[in-house]
Symmetry: C2
Subunit: 110 residues, 2 copies
DNA sequence: TACCAATACATAAGGATGTTATGTATAAAT
DNA sequence: ATTTATACATAACATCCTTATGTATTGGTA
């Protein structure tokens, strides 16, 4: 069992949460923030991140702006109004899920 | 985003944990216990459970005994010695993962 | 008693999600 | 001058779970 298998399926709510907290972020920044927040535990791969962000854009969850930084381009992502609502729902579900996990891992504390 | 997508990848440690706590269990019993423990939140499908159990057996994580209940057969699963060790590791990883999730979902509490 | 729900196993086809590998390009550090 | 970090993107592949289907016994209920 690969360790990184665990967060399969949790990436989307994680990213939505970060966007809700930080307003406007670009892809690379998201990977770095997740790494920092989790002290290196979760490392989002680019192959997972970028397709996911594109999908969220297609679905109208986020919208994008390009910004030039010197000769380089950054693509900033922001939650749309609909995206914010969906994020609230996703957060409730994620918290429920975490509680469920807790009920299994620590049945006595519950 | 389907709600059930969340625990993709967490099923294996969940099942190992239940086997560690309860010693000896059969498949259907596992699905029922997860449902009860999580108050209906997590419902393991048979299509996910049985192939997983078979894989764990192949890998020597669990061993099985058949038991006849009337005219029906139950297949009981027990962790092997190696399986118990792997379960400890898996639990540490799962707890780490849960902490990481918490650091993202509740950055201020951390 | 006929039918449906619950119990109990199993597997195959398909979908969703992530990894690994690869490619392009600029900027900073050594 | 070369490597590392920044910054995007995509394709092939693997993994994991869902949905659907199949078999069979047991218990409840109309």
């Amino acid at each position: 069992m690969n360790k990184s298998t665990l967060y399969k399926g949790c990436l989307e709510p994680i990213i939505m949460r970060l966007l809700k907290d930080n307003g406007r972020m670009y892809g690379y920044q998201i990977t770095q923030m997740v790494k920092e927040l989790t002290k290196g535990e979760l490392q989002i791969t680019e192959g997972a991140l970028y397709p996911l962000l594109h999908r969220l854009e297609e679905q109208g969850v986020v919208e994008t702006e390009m910004e030039n930084i010197g000769n380089r381009v950054r693509k900033y992502y922001t939650l749309t109004k609909a995206g914010k609502k969906q994020t609230s729902v996703a957060m409730d579900e994620l918290k429920m899920f975490m509680q469920s996990l807790n009920l299994i891992v620590n049945p006595k504390l519950a």
